[in-house]
């Protein structure tokens, strides 16, 4: 019997709810965590904006004594760091976390506790940076932390460590969010939503998250290596000891340039969602846009050297990157023309979101054009490190992210609040922002062309920069007042906005088929999608879903259930049971914070226990997750049945681990690149003490790691045949442990690792291999324990597959790692 909508709502609300009071800290629901991400990002945006005001106050007049150069260094470093790492990326993550399940027709993301853990890492990591700034120890080497300025010699205090460790802590949230977003988009759409029916925002976030998975690891690696150099004297970036400062620039910009597109693409996704609504016609060029954003995603990884044109690289290298930098404008233009075509062929109606869409067109196109200018080597050589570049990057980032996000804010705010905007404030706010922005940054092109360098704390009054700078500063304050009005508008909307029913914009996407504001479970029943999911009728769909007509239109056994689908066709394949609220993400986040704080304050004795605590807490996460019996296919409504996620081979956990391996492999690939780079490019490699050891010692760990992978495979085969995998798993765990231990003699045989980058890189490679052999041990042992607890059967083999993935990865990294170490041993000779 179908329950009444009210009874269904109460039952689902009880199953999906978050406890009140202190229990709120156990929240894992994407609605709550997504909102927390966005609100926290807005707080950091305000902090970054305040710092920008201090910068503009300082530069308003020549020879200003308002801020001294040391403090100014901290302020501009923190402004860039906060805006890029603590505002833009977390904001897009939070928006994706909040909105994607609703757009895709799911009840939550794939890994709610990981979402919550990511949030705590973001909050704690960001707080480390801000607290350091308040007490006067903020990073001061620029948001890009170039060596040798950020090395121990020139930044001897704790300031640079705050950046390296704080940002790495924050990046945990970026990587976890990226993995979660990819898996959720590919596996957790509404039944029937094939890839070609997916709302275009899903494609944008899929490409963005893919870029994050391979874009962040080079920076994480660079941060680890630089911190190792600063803390333990391993000279990766010291040219006198075989390192190279340019290696840092390569690693940083390998992340840093894709980062620009990581920030832009979600903004473009917002525009592709909003413009058709206000043009009152479907988006033109859906397929072309999908191809364009895939092209953009890849091309953006071929541009990083355009930040390094003046470092003396050969002409051919410059030519590759210059051509790629110019060519990336093409897929961007495809989108802009598609949006314009949609508007031209539609019946556009104007409202507040459209003001910001128009603002985007003006600002971003100017930023794109100056982007093509700085892509050209001769021009960039002139404009490099001047205020022209500052103007360009603000046109691109504010145009490409802030304007679309403001459009999105006004478009989706009724979804958060259930109310409409108070237009009396939103319209003047827009005009103050657009006028203030252009006054600030358009003029900055001129000061840049007149030769004003970036990052100077003051300037003499005889260069003709005075009036332009003063006007820029006035514009900056107008811009800030505009943002303050937006904030006031949001507050007023919560308090005084007119209540509206669902779908106030007559949109055609699924998020408007939820009640507004949405309940924790989003949909009382999941819809069937039979057309492209930006051509739906939410107003008609919503009452049927609220009444339980659709998939999973019931509450069962107090479980949080949603559906998994085939990646391409969207056919319902599995029933995903999500974990309930838990304090574990908070405790694990705090323990992770202890690890970073122990490193920051150089209390190194405390680091191993803190790491063990993190591991112990993570090992508690799977408790109670999964099933001890094979349930077989269960009713999922709509006359269909599907097995539970744990009984399916290609489940979300499996795919998430494959993505984690991809992310990890990118970091390892960057390390191997770094090793080869130093061999080929770095000076002082001909006179260096190297490893003198028989390669036999290197063969042993490789063979053991391969044996571990083979044993994990045997465990999976045995389990599939109905035999116990226990012995195979135990053997696999023991073999992987032996592989890790067998690397110790090689490590101990390395010459002084602080003397030269050669042994230092070898140590980094060996440590990476040891850590991953240890990880393979841990996961195999965990699978063994899960089998003993009854969570593994021939149908429920996820734990065994994870053991195979990580054993296989351990074997895969061992061979090139050891080969590189012994190759490095052939370089140089006795000093």
């Amino acid at each position: 019997m179908t329950p009444s909508p009210i009874r269904l709502h109460k039952a689902l609300a009880a199953d999906w709810g978050t406890p009140p009071g202190w229990g709120r800290l156990s929240a894992v629901n994407h609605n709550i965590v997504g909102r927390r991400f966005m609100v926290t990002a807005l707080v950091f945006f305000a902090i970054g904006g305040l710092l920008a005001m201090l910068i503009r106050a300082q530069l308003a007049t020549p020879e200003s004594a308002f801020i001294g150069p040391d403090l100014y260094n901290q302020i501009f470093t923190m402004h860039g760091t906060v805006m890029m790492f603590l505002f833009a990326i977390p904001m897009l993550e939070g928006f994706g976390i909040y909105m994607l399940p609703k757009l895709l027709g799911a009840r939550d993301l794939a890994f709610p506790r990981i979402t919550a853990y990511g949030y705590w890492c973001y909050l704690f990591g960001g707080s480390i940076l801000v607290v350091a700034m308040i007490v006067g120890y903020a990073p001061d080497s620029g948001w890009f932390m170039y060596t040798p300025l950020s090395s121990d010699t020139y930044s001897p205090g704790i300031n640079a460590d705050v950046w390296l460790l704080g940002i790495t802590f924050v990046e945990i949230s970026a990587v976890t969010a990226a993995v979660e977003i990819i898996v959720s988009i590919l596996k957790m759409r509404a039944p029937g939503m094939s890839l070609d029916r997916m709302p275009i925002f899903g494609w944008y976030m899929l490409v963005t998250a893919g870029m994050m998975v391979v874009g962040f690891p080079p920076l994480i690696l660079g941060s680890i290596l630089l911190e190792l150099e600063r803390a333990f004297e391993l000279p990766f970036f010291d040219p006198e000891r075989g390192g190279d400062p340019l290696l840092w620039q390569h690693l940083f910009w390998l992340f840093g340039h894709p980062e620009v597109y990581i920030i832009f693409l979600p903004g473009a996704g917002v525009l592709s969602t909003i413009i058709p609504v206000f043009a009152q016609r479907p988006l033109i060029g859906y397929r072309a846009i999908v191809v364009a954003i895939v092209a953009l995603g890849f091309l953006s990884f071929g541009l990083w050297v355009h930040h390094m044109y003046t470092t003396g690289l050969p002409h051919l290298a410059l030519a590759f990157f210059s051509a790629a930098s110019a060519l990336v404008a093409v897929p961007t233009a495809v989108q802009i023309f598609a949006w314009l075509a949609t508007l031209v062929h539609g019946r556009p109606r104007f409202d507040v979101p459209m003001l910001y869409v128009v603002g985007f067109f003006i600002v971003f196109v100017i930023g794109g054009l100056t982007g093509v200018m700085v892509a050209m080597v001769p021009f960039d050589s002139q404009a490099h490190d001047t205020h022209f570049v500052v103007a360009h990057l603000h046109y691109v980032l504010i145009g490409g992210f802030v304007f679309p996000m403001l459009a999105g804010l006004y478009y989706w705010l009724p979804h958060f609040t259930g109310r409409l905007s108070v237009h009396r404030l939103s319209i003047p706010a827009f005009w103050m922002i657009i006028i203030g922005f252009n006054l600030t940054f358009l003029l900055m092109h001129l000061t840049g062309l007149m030769g004003m360098p970036r990052r100077i704390s003051t300037y003499p009054s005889n260069f003709g920069w005075d009036s332009l700078n003063l006007l820029s500063s006035v514009g900056g304050f107008i811009l800030t007042m505009g943002f303050a009005l937006v904030l006031a508008d949001i507050v007023l909307q919560f308090r005084f906005g007119r209540r509206r029913p669902r779908d106030p914009w007559q949109a055609a996407t699924l998020e408007w088929a939820t009640p507004i504001p949405p309940p924790a479970y989003n949909f009382a029943a999941l819809p069937t999608i039979k057309t492209r999911a930006d051509r739906l009728a939410p107003a008609e769909l919503a009452p049927r879903l609220a009444g339980g007509a659709g998939y999973l239109g019931f509450a069962r056994e107090n479980r949080q259930e949603t559906l998994g689908v085939d990646m391409t066709t969207g056919v319902a394949e599995q029933l995903i049971v999500l974990p309930r609220p838990s304090f574990l993400p908070l405790w694990t986040g705090l323990a992770t914070g202890l690890v970073f704080l122990s490193l920051l304050f150089k209390v190194y004795w405390a680091t191993p226990p803190a790491i063990l605590l993190v591991i112990a807490l993570f090992l508690m996460w799977p408790r109670g997750v999964g099933s001890r019996i094979d349930r077989g296919p269960l009713d999922i409504g709509a006359g269909e049945s599907a097995p539970e996620d744990s009984e399916v081979k290609g489940n979300v956990t499996y795919w998430a681990n494959l993505l984690a391996v991809t992310c990890n492999a990118t970091l390892y690939g960057s390390l191997l690149f770094g090793a080869l780079y130093l061999v080929v490019v770095a000076p002082a490699w001909d006179v260096v003490a190297v490893l003198t050891m028989s390669p036999f010692y290197g063969a042993m760990p490789v063979l053991l790691a391969l044996a571990g992978a083979a044993l994990a495979y045997r465990a999976l085969v045995a389990n599939g045949r109905g035999n116990s995998p226990s012995v195979w798993l135990a053997a696999a765990a023991a073999t992987a442990l032996l592989a890790a231990l067998s690397l110790l003699p090689v490590v101990l045989a390395l010459p002084d690792v602080t003397a030269h980058a050669n042994p230092a890189v070898s140590l980094a490679l060996l440590c990476y291999c040891m850590i991953h052999a240890g990880l393979a041990t841990l996961i195999s042992a965990h699978a063994w324990w899960r089998h003993r607890q009854g969570y593994v059967s021939p149908r429920r083999a996820t734990d065994l597959r994870l053991a195979l993935i990580w054993q296989g990865y351990s074997a895969l990294v061992m061979l090139p790692g050891i080969a590189m170490v012994f190759f490095l041993a052939t370089q140089g000779g006795p000093p």
């Binding site: 092209a295 890849f298 050969p314 990646m567």
Partner: protein, 115 residues
Amino acid sequence: MSGVRARNIWLILVGYIAWSVLFVGLYALQALGCAAGWHQVTVGPTDLHRILLVAAYFGGLLALAGVLLVQARMPTEGYPAPAPFLRRAGVLATLAALVSSALIFAPVLAVSACR
């Protein structure tokens, strides 16, 4: 889940993955050649480094053209035909990757490699 269906997603990615491999390969070849002094080994009117770079360039373009041809000739209906959207988008993406490669890596034909 059908393995064939899951593989269809790669149709959109394969062209630009090939572009990435070509990018890394050419950039590495440029750096290694300069370090090893291949540009100083005269071969006819040019040098060994240039020959290797140009060979890699045209080899990469040929490989990409081959991928494009395979994708364009994929079955349009019946199992295991990919979804029409993914097939067409895949062809477009690979074509874009081919054009991108031809333009971005064309400097190997003329620009000095080690200065």
